[in-house]
């Protein structure tokens, strides 16, 4: 498979919180139409990599490119306007707002066509249509994830960043979320996903990166990583 055109690229990135450096010389990219998964053990810096893209922490070296334009240290409210959609791991919906109001807030930076976008989201997430007048806080964990993703997609997304979208969900909802991710990807939005459930994530990913201690350890297509014995031994709970 030839390398696709990179939409989002992390080049020789060093980053961390305050004085602590967590990411050391990270290189990753997401190509157009790709689903790319970051997997790795707890504390490997998976979520940190996503937060670095959003400008939520200190970047000490290297750069982040969106469509070949540097966006290193862009504050989050500006990153949104450039087409970076982000779904945090927790607290990712406004619990006191209704589903519909959450979507409207997602479209804050958009000036027109908000109604059509909301309709598009209800087509993509049909369960949400019936719940649109309900407070997002009253929904189940899986449905909240749907609201969070729909809210993030209300802008013209160039890439969707998902931080552990299935954490704490039942297996049934996990499957639904992964199906939804594939559905979103099919609409042409590249997806960068951080996941604990490595097996399922690699199952739907075009490519994957394995992070250990804040550094790139393995890189390959989803299938290659799934088949790799060392990756399997370390993260997938395999016994062979």
């Amino acid at each position: 498979m030839s390398d696709p055109q990179p939409i989002l690229e992390l080049r020789n990135l060093y980053a961390g919180y305050g004085e602590t450096e967590i990411l050391h010389d990270i290189n990753m990219f997401v190509g157009s139409h790709e689903v790319v998964a970051i997997i790795g053990p707890n504390g490997a810096g998976k979520s940190t990599a996503i937060k670095a893209i959003l400008g939520l922490l200190n970047i000490r070296g290297g750069e982040i490119l969106l469509d070949s334009t540097p966006i290193t240290n862009t504050p989050p409210e500006v990153a949104v306007t450039k087409g970076i959609s982000y779904v945090p791991q927790t607290h990712n919906v406004f619990v006191n707002l209704t589903v519909q109001e959450n979507l409207e807030m997602g479209a804050w930076t958009m000036r027109a066509g908000i109604e059509e976008r909301i309709e598009k989201m209800y087509a993509l997430f049909p369960d949400l249509r019936d719940k649109r007048r309900q407070a997002a806080g009253s929904l189940s964990g899986g449905q909240r994830q749907m609201v969070a993703m729909a809210k993030a997609l209300m802008v013209d997304s160039k890439v969707l960043l998902l931080d552990e979208p299935t954490a704490g969900l039942s297996p049934k909802y996990r499957g639904e979320i992964f199906e939804t991710i594939q559905k979103i990807n099919a609409t042409g939005v590249p997806i960068f996903i951080v996941e604990q459930n490595a097996k399922q994530a690699l199952g739907i990913a075009d490519r994957g990166y394995v992070l250990v201690d804040g550094s790139n350890r393995f890189t390959g297509t989803g299938a290659e990583l799934l088949a790799d014995r060392e990756v399997a031994r370390m993260f997938l709970g395999g016994r062979d």
């Binding site: 959003l54 939520l56 989050p76 409210e77 990153a79 949104v80 306007t81 982000y86 945090p88 607290h91 990712n92 919906v93 406004f94 619990v95 006191n96 707002l97 109001e101 409207e104 807030m105 997602g106 804050w108 930076t109 809210k151 993030a152 802008v155």
Partner: protein
Amino acid sequence: MWASFGFEFVNFYLIPGLVLGCIYALGAIGITLTFGILRFANFAHGEVMMTGAYLTWTISTLAGLWLGWSLHPLIAAVPAIFAAIGILILIDRYFYKPFRNAPTIMVVMASFGMMLVVRSTVQFIWGPNQLTFVKGIDKPNEAVRQFTADLDLMILVPNKHFWIMAGTVIIMLCFTYLLERTRIGKAMRAVSDSPDLARVTGIDVEAVVRATWVVGGFCAVAAGVFLAMDIQFLETTMGFRMLLPMFAAAILGGIGRPFGAVFGGLIIGLAEELSAYPWIGDAPLISPGYKTGVAFTIMIIMLIVRPSGLFKGRTF
């Protein structure tokens, strides 16, 4: 029944309690919004009420002197509201904005300082003595008296109380519409819900902060003018004296919950007035001198029993 009990209870306790409750409710809205969106307890909020009342007095006095108009305080309050909001926006820009990412306790202390600055400035300009806001005794509303007298229930609502209650209801309706139906109102609720998520969603948090000062300032000036209409005089500590019951109202309703603050304000106002009713025997249950203690007691009980308030607000 009405003659022996109801007349006195309704006219001398219930209606004044509701009026006081309206004033607390309007003041508590600003406190709870500032707490929810800017995340600090604003000690200077009472001074906004007081300054608004002084500005209103000045505008109606100047209109009388220069133009020979006698403006109703509610009309003079309109330009006063604009002026007060302008001052608040400037204070936010140059005083609170540098504190935006500072620890909460620093901003609380800063607001305490701002309270002293505002009060001293008002004392410097208008002097430390009481000013007469409205002269004379306000007569009960004749239409209400007539109407209820025909039903054998004589209700005496002074005109000023009538205006205060009507004004509060109108402001509440506008406020509800703003929060529930407008883009900026929904964004205010979103930021109050989670400022971090609001930021990564791309919401213009600074615009929301300005809207918070506008709405909080509007309600505070209205509360200040209503208070001045009720007590008919002005003094520089009038806002500060309202601060404790307004905090009690905000806590009772749940911090960050504007409708909770309205409800809490009405409860505190009623509790303060009704505590002086002779429930047992002929003497007031609690001497009116201890009215403020009632609000304080409710606040303490609430913080111990249910710190999130009646409507599940934020706890710290």
